[in-house]
Amino acid sequence: MTFHSEIILVAEDQVLVRMAAVDMLADHGFEVWEAGGADEVLAVLQQRGAEIGVLFTDIQMPGSIDGLQLAHRVRRSWPRIGLLITSGKTLPRSAELPGGSRFLSKAYDLNQMMTQVRELMPAA
């Protein structure tokens, strides 16, 4: 098993979906932190933003902003962090996604999610 120095932050309010993603990433050697909404993510990033390699976030989540707005804010303030965005709703137009981010439609395959996260991980 390989170990990665950078942390994956998974933001998903649906706990079973989040658990599956977190387990999958952890089993592949990643350190994974969890959040149930955008506000939690921002709080984590304010403290430890430099340690996060990839943010994997759902769009529809409770909180002051949704996952898409969160992704834009992360792109502006922490441009190094890789962004993987998911939603059960229609694919946003590419113009609505932050530059360099990727979109994964729900219901996504956890193996495909793994592949995307690996590719989005910033070069060491």
């Binding site: 649906q14 079973l16 979906v17 658990m19 599956a20 993603a21 387990d23 999958m24 089993d27 529809q60 939603s87 059960g88 709703k89 229609t90 694919l91 439609s105 729900k106 219901a107 996504y108 395959d109 956890l110 193996n111 495909q112 592949t115």
Partner: protein
Amino acid sequence: MRSNRGACVLMLRLRLAFREPPLFQEGQAMAAHTQPQTDIGLSLVLAVIASSGAPLLLLDGELLVIAASASFCRTFRIDPATVAGRRLFELGAGEWNVPQLHSLLAATAAGHAEIEAYEMDLRRAGQEPRRLVLNAQKLAYDNEDNIRLLLTVADVTDARNAESLRLEMVREKDDLLRDKAVLLQELQHRIANSLQIIASVLLQSARRVQSDETRSHLHEAHQRVMSVAALQRQLSASSLDDVRLRPYFVELCQSIGASMIRDHDKLKLEAFGDDSTARADVSVSLGLIVTELVINALKHAFPDDRGGKINVGYLSHGANWTLSVDDNGIGMPETTDQAKSGLGTSIIKALAGQLHARIEIRDTNPGTSISIIHTETGILAVKSAAAPAVAAI
């Protein structure tokens, strides 16, 4: 004297002459007409007003009614006998006594204004108000002392009601369409989330169990859910009810490959096809058949990490179509043991039956080709010459 047309026309002694304004200067017309001509002109004017299909009133400078058309009396339920020589504001039960109309008509009579499309509600006891549009003009006329006003009154209540009803219906339809789109998106969102939960739980179970056989079953179950999820993604990405099959199968193969093929350099899984589309219910069956056939090929055709390829193809011609899954693996076992046929086989048979399609299995040496064939005329005999080794699942 009443009009012999039965209209409520009051004839007063008028020294009225009609002229065409552009042709004569003020004052010349009188000289050009004799008394008998004036009477003829008056009779003509009154007859025109009487027979007019539109509610019309001819008023004098004091706003006394000189003539009213039959349609005015009928529309506003005024007894023709009561019209003669009365002031407009005394007509009926006083419902025409509207101060603003009074001032407008007075201003028109004085030549200060002209009433164009003035709107008012006519309110009568025990009746719904009627919306009226009024036009009044001072007639160009030779005698400054005898002022004449022509007042036309259009009742637009019904037309306005019909128009507002139509607009309301258009608005309601737009609202319903918008609600439907929002509901549909919400529904798709929920389906996607539900499928995500089911798939995630199945995959987590697969990763935690000890038994290889159970793990394999759970992986297959996960893959079946993912094949439905792939269809759901196709449906939510397009506004159509039909599914474009090639992109669907391509995505499906990527999904199956991602979870079930370890070495993508050795084993290739690809989808080909024409630009066919199919209804969502047909597409989900086709997708599940592809899933089962590909899982079957992955399980049995390439033992001991053997390399090779699996091709998924779909071609249609009119209502006829063929779905095929070909591999270049080790081929079929010599005998088919029906008793051992698994869930996958049952699923394929059931879905092919539902689609009125037959199943053909060919030993292509190397490998196996399985086709699901639908022909419009039903299940026909296979041309034996073209299919030397056909077996049925």
